[in-house]
């Protein structure tokens, strides 16, 4: 399953890229994020509460930044254990391109779940991942640039 989207952000590309690496911004934008602690420039531990279909679970795990190519983009990946609910993992390849003074952010998300979440919610995962991605990037675009996004694919 792959989910793609695009946002236009009213901010210069350097500023957008910096925000993508800002732990406070990420914590504010990751849906259901309860804690996000920095281990290094590219690694963080996170606690995230998510509802997928009928299963609600607190996931604890890692958030990793990789393929960092300032200011063109990076890959942000997360992997969390939800205890008896199973696990969830996913990532987004984020690309930034300049559009005049603005920045166009495109993302390409993949997500995977396992255990109980998969048994009862697998067919909801595409919809859920799409919603979570929109929540994340929507909030991100809003917090970094103004006015709010012009398009959400």
């Amino acid at each position: 399953m792959e989910i793609k989207g695009e946002y236009k952000i009213a901010a210069p590309r350097d500023k957008v890229f910096a925000a993508l690496n800002d732990q406070a911004v990420l914590q504010a934008c990751i849906p259901g994020c309860e804690t996000l602690e920095k281990l290094s420039d590219t690694e963080m531990t996170a606690k995230v509460r998510l509802r997928i279909g009928p299963v609600s679970a607190a996931f604890s795990g890692k958030v990793t930044l990789s393929d960092i190519d300032p200011p063109n983009g990076y890959k942000i990946s997360g992997e969390g254990q939800g205890g008896v609910a199973g696990f969830a993992k996913g990532g987004a390849v984020v690309k930034l391109t300049e559009d005049g003074g603005d920045t166009v952010l495109t993302y390409d998300v993949d997500a995977q779940v396992g255990g109980k979440i998969a048994q009862v919610g697998a067919r909801l995962i595409a919809g859920t991942a799409k919603k979570l991605a929109d929540q994340f990037f929507g909030k991100f675009a809003e917090s970094v640039g103004a006015p709010p996004p012009t398009s959400a694919a």
Binding site: G83, G86, F87, G115, K116, A118, Q119, V120
Partner: protein, 793 residues
């Protein structure tokens, strides 16, 4: 026939408690100081366990103990066993990968058992399970059965290179190939027999108690065969001697095969009871049932049928890959071989048959016997290919069957695939089914449906079944690890009422009624004075349990033998009481009589004299009236029948509606027609479920179980089926004292092919060649679209 004897529609004695909520199931057990178990399961299909940290979990409130694979290894616990050795075509026994009770260093399917938490409550156990940290190294999974044996597919076990458990064959391939070379017509078929999840109403459960004073264990389990479970646990897994382990299977709410096997959880609950020092209870949640009950079916098959110019079958060739899942469950190896390929003659005189079965392991739940066990898969292959052949030859589907039926005078009939059918008469069955189904009127109904925009189709399925498992010596020759006789005890009490103690186990079959009818009929005891006792190793001598439609044919026959012994002994006592010669004493309808006189003494009086032997031939006869019998069948029994299904399909939505379904069966003599009807009805519904609705689906890449709840696993419902039309033809079984055959699986064996043949018949005008089960609306709609696209090109 009496009102409660053989042939009577006696209402089920057990239904009073089942319908009023007073049944006693494992979970109902009141055990003082009980603890509760919860199993942490693998969320991955295939992973290495790098580390399990239970420190934080052990400190959680209410936790009594946590066990992992390491504890079972330290205790030198044996692995779970597969009780049937199938030799592959080179004569080598099948590969037998280790099946640890708890995962040691590798998990092999989603649901594999990683840790057992024992706590003061289920909720506390679950909370603690959340706190167990397992460090997994996730590995690629082998999920797609069709590719399981391919080079490069991840291996499930080092002991099974290439994931192959056995490559088995029956028949002479060269002879079959020669027949194909001469054939006027060959019909070819590729099909998938969809994987099913059993879904017994009561989930699996276990409870155990250890008596420190005596060293005795008691295990309550939702088992279909408590003695076999005890035998496996004692001899192979836990080493608790049989005389120190009592296994009780009380009221059990359905099994369909899934409760035959020895499972991890009951093993752990029993073992841990002595470690914990308090009773332990465990009941599966429904999600665990989906994940870990042994699944059923799951074959990929290619079949070819060779015919002469008149449609006479010359030879059949079948190649099947059978899914074993991640571990070999108790009887898994026998299901796609001796319970499948040996049935491929069906009701037909096909003189040459070759079958090759490759069993593969995959990263999915274990697969084992499920209602019919191999025989539904065989029937589905035969009856689908025969219907396809009829369509290709433009012959009437019933006529092609009739042309190839084994004739009545050919019985006993030796098939080319090992079995010898004892009795049968197939043409009258199909005639009766066609009459009941109004076959002649079908085309008019099809035309009428067309006016309503519906595609109507009709499908036949003429099944054969080998059940009543089984002659022990045959089972031994085929690699089975146990005998397959049954025991019975008829124990009169001094006041004349009687306990019938059987080694069969009832989990919905109605034994308490059927078996009581046998004894009431034979001994003339009122049915209310008969209590059928089963399911407890401490009250039954021994027993092989209930599966393979064996309870009446084998267990019922043992009861008849025990009643014979009661009558023989009673005659000696009665002769003494009547001052007559034993040779002159006759027994009829509860009374001993001296032939040719009016002297008589009722059985109750004989029984009383046997327990209060004041006037009794003590020198010749022991007191008491309590007889034991074992019965080992001479052959399988061979029920047969024809089902005819009619469906209507909405071509715009793909929805298939079963609008009529007829079943005519030969079950031999029938003891309780109402119970038989119930069995047939339930079986047909399960067969309709397989054909139209049910599918266990794993993600082909990750091995995640996607159909893990009733939101995604579609069970058949009352609204999905019409009122069934049933009929019977009787050819009594010649080798058991009751003349009975089995009826428990027939419905599920025959129905899938009948339904799918009807679906194919309905869709044929649109050019649809083949629809795989389940024929869901999506599946049917896509088939229609595909055929229309192909026609347009």
């Amino acid at each position: 026939m009496t009102e409660t004897g053989i042939g009577a529609r006696v209402h089920r004695k057990e239904d009073k408690r089942f319908l009023t909520g007073t049944g006693r199931y494992v979970d109902d057990l009141p055990l003082a100081r009980a603890t509760y178990a919860y199993f942490l399961r693998s969320p991955h299909a295939h992973a290495k366990i790098k580390k399990i940290d239970t420190t934080a979990a052990k400190a959680m409130p209410g936790v009594v103990e946590i066990f992992t694979g390491k504890d079972t290894a330290d205790a030198k616990m044996g692995g779970l066993i597969c009780g049937w050795v199938v030799k592959d075509k080179n004569g080598e026994p099948h590969k037998a990968p280790a099946h640890p009770v708890m995962a040691l260093d590798t998990v092999r399917y989603v649901g594999d058992t990683v840790a057992m938490v024992v706590a003061n409550s289920v909720d506390e156990a679950k909370d603690a399970a959340e706190a167990i940290k397992v460090d997994y190294e996730v590995k690629p999974a082998n999920v797609d059965l069709a590719r399981a044996l391919d080079k490069g597919t991840p291996e499930v076990h080092p002991e099974a290179p290439g994931n192959l458990i056995y490559d088995w064959e029956i028949g002479v391939k060269a002879d079959v190939d020669a027949a194909f070379a001469k054939a006027a017509h060959v019909t070819k078929l590729d099909l998938v027999n969809n994987r099913l999840i059993p879904n017994a109403m009561e989930p699996r459960a276990a409870a155990a108690e250890y008596d420190k004073g005596t060293g005795n264990y008691t295990l309550w389990s939702t088992s279909q065969n408590p003695h076999v479970l005890r035998l496996i646990l004692s001899a192979f897994v836990l080493g608790i001697p049989e005389h120190k382990l009592r296994v009780v299977a009380p009221d059990v709410g359905g099994g369909f095969g899934s409760k035959i096997f020895c499972y991890n959880e009951e093993t752990m609950v029993c073992w841990a009871a002595s470690r914990v020092g308090r009773p332990i209870k465990w009941t599966a949640e429904r999600a665990e049932s989906f994940m870990t009950d042994a699944h059923g079916r799951d074959h990929v098959t290619h079949a070819e049928l060779a015919m002469d110019k008149d449609g006479k079958f010359l030879a059949l060739k079948v190649e099947t890959i059978a899914n074993m899942g991640a571990y070999l469950s108790t009887f898994s190896t026998a299901v796609p071989t001796y319970l499948y390929a040996t049935l491929l003659a069906g009701q037909y005189t096909t003189p040459l048959i070759y079958a090759n079965v490759k069993a593969a392991v995959t990263h999915t739940a274990p697969v084992d016997a499920y209602r019919g066990a191999g025989r539904p898969e065989a029937t589905f292959v035969i009856e689908t290919i025969v219907s396809k052949a009829a369509a290709e030859l433009k012959m009437d589907t019933a006529e092609l069957r009739r042309k190839n039926f084994i004739p009545k005078e050919a019985f006993p009939y030796q098939t080319p695939v090992a079995l010898q059918y004892d009795s049968g008469n197939y043409p009258p069955i199909i005639d009766e089914a066609m009459k009941i189904a109004d076959y002649k009127g079908f085309e008019a109904r099809r035309a009428e449906a067309k006016k309503r925009g519906k595609l109507r189709g009709i499908g036949f399925s003429s099944y054969i079944e080998a059940c009543g498992l089984a002659p022990s010596q045959v089972i031994g020759q085929l690699g089975g690890g146990v005998g397959q006789w049954e025991s019975a005890q008829i124990k009169f009490n001094p006041t004349g009422n009687v306990q019938v103690i059987t080694g069969s186990h009832s989990h919905g079959q109605g034994h308490e009624t059927t078996f009581a009818q046998l004894v009431s009929d034979k001994l003339g005891v009122p049915i209310e004075n008969i209590e059928v006792v089963h399911g407890d190793t401490s009250t039954t001598t021994f027993g092989m349990g209930t599966y393979g439609s064996r309870s009446l044919a084998v267990g019922g026959s043992a009861i008849m033998k025990a009643t014979d012994k009661i009558i023989a002994k009673g005659k000696k006592v009665a002769a003494h009481l009547m001052e007559a010669d034993v040779a002159d004493v006759e027994f009829d309808n509860g009374t001993f009589k001296v032939a040719g006189t009016d002297k008589n003494v009722p059985l109750a009086q004989v029984v009383f004299a046997a327990y209060v032997p004041h006037n009794y031939p003590l020198a010749e006869v022991e007191p008491g009236m309590d007889e034991n019998a074992f019965y080992d069948p001479a052959n399988f029994v061979y029920p047969a029948g024809t089902q005819i299904c009619e469906v209507e399909i909405d071509p715009d939505t793909g929805v298939v509606e079963v609008v009529a379904h007829t079943a005519v069966d030969d079950f031999g003599n029938i003891i309780n027609p109402m119970i038989v009807e119930g069995q047939v009805h339930g079986g047909i519904v399960q067969g309709v479920g397989q054909a139209l609705h049910e599918a266990a689906v794993y993600d082909k890449d990750t091995g995640q179980l996607l159909s893990g709840s009733y939101m995604d696993y579609r069970m058949p419902r009352a609204e999905d089926v019409p009122s069934f039309k049933l009929g019977y033809k009787v050819t009594p079984c010649p080798h058991n004292p009751l003349g009975v055959k089995g009826c428990g699986e027939a419905g599920a064996i025959a129905a899938p092919a009948a339904v799918m043949n009807a679906v194919h018949d309905a869709l044929a005008p649109l050019g649809v060649k083949h629809v795989e089960m389940p024929a869901t609306p999506l599946n049917v709609w896509q088939s229609i679209q595909g055929a229309q696209r192909a026609a347009a090109e």
